[in-house]
Amino acid sequence: MEFFEMFGGLGLAFIGIALAIVMCCIGSAKGTGLVGEAATGVLSETPEHFTKCMILEALPGTQGLYGIAAGFFALFVLGAFSGGIVPLTLSQGMSVLIACIPIAFGGWLSAKAQARVAAASINIVAKKPDDYMKGVILCGIVEFYAILSLVGTILMLMNAL
């Protein structure tokens, strides 16, 4: 208990918000990086497929966006945009921290998993460029779990205070 008291409620909440943002951004950075690397191989041969490769590369980037959206929503709940943040009790702070966990992990790991699908879909761009939308659709399936994590986090944040 003393350990947590060192942080204070607000400190705990901020740890959660930071986790939500940073984990998602790490996942997205790794993900877009992986797809980007795969894309350069195709682009060196057929530069005209740039747009298709870019769309695939952008897909694992959305988790970063979800992370910042969740973090932002948490700050919003804490009152940061409506008259300043009020002090939190330990349990309130802990609630916000826990509420941020779904998107922190869901975003991070789904970005990595989606990146692998997107990187493999670069092969479709190379071999059958007209069918690349199917690769995008496969990536969309993975995206859903980031969306679910975001929805979970938001639902919990709405009830955190």
Binding site: A69, G140, I141, F144, V151, I154
Partner: protein, 665 residues
């Protein structure tokens, strides 16, 4: 709105008129040529035609497309996203004379390009040679000089790091019978000519090698470096002039790129025709054609076959032939766009159901439910409408656009129920301009902050439970519709028992269970009705299984059916929660962007909100499309759809660069 009935055609004709017949069939575009199978043994002497013509046309198509690729870089032709394909009459497309001319132009372009490439190689070789000559330009002696009767001439290079004095010192130490002339330098080396008495030549060479000098072999040259340099320069100028001529040849042809595209389209038609021909079977003088065409085209097809004097037989497909029958869906304007979705999954079997009319309303409804934003819907509907009107896309592209147009309208509908326009754009905007403006807006029916110009029915973020129940209710409706289709099909096929013990039983069980649980809250007798239905359904299921396999097998089957049914329906209906998830996620991300922008004032708000909302729209487009698709393909089709057909692909004119206007051929 259904699967088009097909007729099977088998015809015998003389090879003389074959090409003309195939061209006519191609122009009609309603006969798919198939490989005949299961022929009687005495027809074994028939063999497929040779593929020489196919290879020839493929080669020409390659030449044309290579030339078009080259001319693309010269960009004389302007075509935007919204420019429709130019229209061309069928006779123009197949004009042999124009085709030959275009092919000649393509060859000219390709030859000029490969000559330019060869030139480039020559040029870089010359440039390397020029570079190698540069240090020796000041030297007045011929480069192939070997020496005199008593002396040897040697050319050396030495690293710039070694001072000249060091070389001279070393030479002095070795002999005095030498004459050293320094030539030029480049970035790394300096060069010199050494004349040395034959008696000391070996010693000097060894000493210099030890010092790090390298002896150069210039025997390939004759005359002085300056002479050679001039000659090379002259050759380069010549190459420049040649290149100019070649470039001009390509540029001159750049304005003909459209002719080349028409020619490529023609070449591809010939390739298609030859591919169809490869599916025929030949004897020495005759050929056998096997194929399919839609019933309504029978008189047209017969007329052509008679005109060409073919002996033929037309029959309805027998049931064992169904897997081979190509599938064409008869659609109206509303359902046709959804053929894209059906084809992506799999075409229905010939004795299956055309899913488009059943799927279309759900697809439109679900997509709009998830998108639920007036602003996004307007962007989608307007964007696709403008594209459809201006670019007049054909085929799958046009279908996609029409589909997204309908989904856009549906998004506007749902958006008007939730009062969402780019999320909460208007409330945020009014707050920034003048908070009194907020009075124009009305709060949702259930209460809350004012959000829209008329009272919204619900808000996806605040009314989570209602949205969740609504999503599952939509799921129940779709799953029940799928069961109804399956039940009707089973009754039609005379499988009444299967329908009763499956769909009917589960209707009773599911509705009965729901009534038994929720009914008493409304009225007490409803609970009893529910229980009766539930047990009636279970009894039907049990009886059905016992009839299918008697005794213990039937009981085990019943247990299995209960387990599969309960887990299957449960997970299928829960799957519709994605409707809620996407609806909420879209709304929240839009709100986050709007709130973020609003922190910094009016102008940043408009910029951030616009960029953020466009991004959210793109994300939502992908999400809503993928998940609507999934609900149709897995949850809905799983209930009734019999897939496995292959799409009807008649011999027809399929062009990429022009729109063909039908005419005689």
């Amino acid at each position: 709105m259904s699967i088009v009935k097909m007729k099977h055609l088998r015809a015998l004709g003389l090879r003389e008129g074959r090409s003309k017949l195939l061209r006519r069939l191609r122009s009609m575009g309603c006969v798919e040529i198939d490989t005949p199978d299961e022929l009687p043994q005495e027809w074994d002497f028939l063999s497929p035609p040779d593929g020489d013509e196919l290879a020839h046309h493929l080669g020409e198509a390659d030449e044309l497309s290579a030339a078009i690729g080259i001319l693309k870089g010269y960009g004389k032709e302007k075509s935007g996203l919204l420019t429709p394909l130019p229209q061309v009459a069928e006779e123009t497309l197949f004009d042999e004379d124009a085709y030959r001319k275009a092919l000649a132009a393509a060859r000219q372009v390709n030859e000029a390009r490969s000559a330019l490439n060869a030139q480039q190689a020559k040029r870089s070789k010359l440039e390397t040679q020029l570079h190698a000559l540069e240090p020796w330009l000041e030297l007045p002696v011929p480069l192939d000089m070997e020496g005199t009767a008593k002396t040897d001439a040697m050319f050396f290079s030495v690293s710039l790091r070694l001072p000249r004095a060091a070389v001279v010192e070393r030479l002095d130490a070795a002999t005095e019978l030498y004459d050293l002339t320094w030539a030029g330098e480049d970035k790394e080396f300096r060069y010199f000519l050494l004349l040395v008495h034959k008696s000391a030549a070996q010693d000097v060479q060894a000493a210099l090698l030890e010092l790090g000098c390298a002896r150069l072999n210039l025997r390939g040259w004759s005359g002085t470096a300056a002479e050679n340099h001039r000659a090379l320069k002259a050759r380069l100028t010549e190459l420049d002039q040649e290149a100019e001529v070649l470039q001009k040849t390509i540029e001159d042809n750049a304005q003909r790129v459209f002719d080349l595209k028409v020619a490529l389209d023609k070449a591809n038609q010939e390739v298609g025709l030859e591919r169809a021909k490869a599916r025929l079977l030949d004897s020495e003088r005759t050929f056998l054609l096997d194929g399919w065409f839609p019933v309504e085209k029978e008189s047209e097809v017969k007329a052509v076959l008679d005109e060409f004097g073919l002996a033929y037989e037309i029959a309805d497909p027998a049931e064992e032939e169904y897997p081979k029958v190509p599938i064409q869906l008869k659609s109206n304007k509303l359902t046709d766009p959804f053929t894209v979705v059906t084809a992506m999954y799999s075409m229905p079997a010939y004795d299956g159901v055309d899913p488009n009319p059943f799927m279309a309303p759900f697809f439109i409804l679900f997509f709009g439910f998830m998108m639920n934003d007036i602003g996004y819907g307007l962007l989608m509907a307007l964007g696709t409408a403008i594209f459809l009107a201006k670019a007049k896309p054909k085929g799958d592209k046009g279908r996609m656009m029409s589909m997204f147009f309908m989904c856009g309208i549906s998004s506007i509908f749902w958006g008007s129920l939730t009062g969402s326009f780019f999320g909460d754009f208007f409330p945020q905007l009014f707050k920034l301009i003048n908070p009194e403006l907020l009075n124009i807006l009305k709060p949702p029916v259930g209460g809350g902050d004012p959000t829209w110009f008329w009272p919204p029915l619900f808000n996806p973020v605040n009314n989570t439970i209602q949205v969740m129940i609504g999503s599952m209710a939509l799921g129940v409706i779709q799953v029940f519709t799928g069961m109804a289709i399956s039940m009707v099909e089973k009754f039609k096929r005379g499988e009444a028992l299967d329908a009763l013990s499956n769909e009917v039983a589960w209707y009773c069980i599911l509705i009965g269970a729901a009534l038994a649980i929720a009914g008493p809250m409304v009225a007490a007798p409803l609970g009893t009705v529910g229980l009766v239905l539930l047990f009636g359904g279970l009894a039907l299921l049990l009886v059905g299984n016992l009839i299918k396999s008697k005794g213990l097998g039937g009981l085990v089957g019943f247990g299995g059916a209960i387990y599969n049914g309960v887990s299957g329906y449960f997970s299928d209906i829960l799957s519709y929660l994605r409707l809620m998830a996407l609806m909420m996620a879209g709304a929240i991300i839009a709100q986050v962007f709007n709130t973020l922008g609003a922190v910094f004032g009016l102008v940043p708000f408009i910029i951030v909100a616009l960029i953020g909302n466009v991004l959210n729209l793109v994300l939502n487009l992908l999400g809503c499309y993928v998940h609507t698709l999934r609900l149709q393909c897995l949850e809905f089709f799983g209930r009734f759809y019999k897939d496995g057909g292959k799409a009807f692909d008649p011999l027809a004119v399929h062009t990429n660069y022009v729109d063909v206007i039908k005419g005689g051929n």
